[in-house]
Symmetry: C2
Subunit: 124 residues, 2 copies
DNA sequence: CCAATATTGATAATTAATTATCATTTATCA
DNA sequence: TGATAAATGATAATTAATTATCAATATTGG
């Protein structure tokens, strides 16, 4: 990643503009508004490089093999995953501690919480 | 699933004996102690049938495309996933409510929590 | 016990996300 | 501006879990 290109600018700007993790397809579709003939291979290459460079983070969901990406450096948070449209949303306010205890002997390093249900648009 | 076979008995007994979700490979290895030349295809077929029959449930983990299975009907609980050995463990005691609020307009239907870290065996 | 057929085991096929390839285009710097 | 090499876009290849295929085996009801 040695040169500035409009493709990479558009991809990073897309991620910065949305306050939720985006799939590679979502990135492609949004960034194509700025760079119409952007290809999916460039999206994959760019997100890999941004991840390596520490600028974005990959988000994985249980049962979904595709990756989503969000800007790195946000405070601790979790996500809401709409079962209808498949979009992922950011949720505020996890204290960092959950009222679930791990038994003696286990060393917890992190926790992930995923809420599932319907987003406002799909609920109506 | 119309006939009783030693293969399916061994597979279900394996899942019942462990109090944690098992991958198809773990099921295969454990059940082979009872049915030595058990094949992986039979494991896949059996778990699919047990899921359809409502006897077991598939568990998915973020970033791991392979499925794990546990006996259905347990009370609400979550899991601990060891990053070293990859084994999944059952955790007691989720109140069902977390101290994370979803914004207005979202309808939460369920939540999943995954703890990651080291299990007792891998910690030492 | 026997016939009918469900099940098994070995392995080929599938599937979907991601990565590699390569000719063409483009950013950068002298 | 022009040379150089990085980046792009189209698409082929890869990868790993799961499913399908099919001949051989085993269960079950009579």
């Amino acid at each position: 990643m040695e040169r500035k290109t409009k493709q990479r600018n558009a991809i990073l700007a897309t991620l910065a503009a949305e306050n939720r993790p985006l799939s590679t397809q979502e990135i492609l579709e949004n960034a194509q508004k700025k760079v119409p003939n952007l290809g999916i291979a460039t999206v994959y290459r760019a997100v890999r490089e941004f991840v390596d460079a520490g600028q974005i983070t990959a988000i994985n969901l249980p049962g979904d093999p595709s990756q989503r990406y969000e800007i790195k450096g946000k405070h601790h948070h979790h996500h809401f995953w709409c079962r209808a449209c498949g979009k992922l949303f950011e949720l505020e306010g996890c204290s960092g501690k959950l009222n679930i205890k791990t038994p003696k002997g286990f060393k917890t390093e992190l926790h992930e919480v995923i809420f599932r249900g319907l987003c406002p648009k799909c609920k109506t």
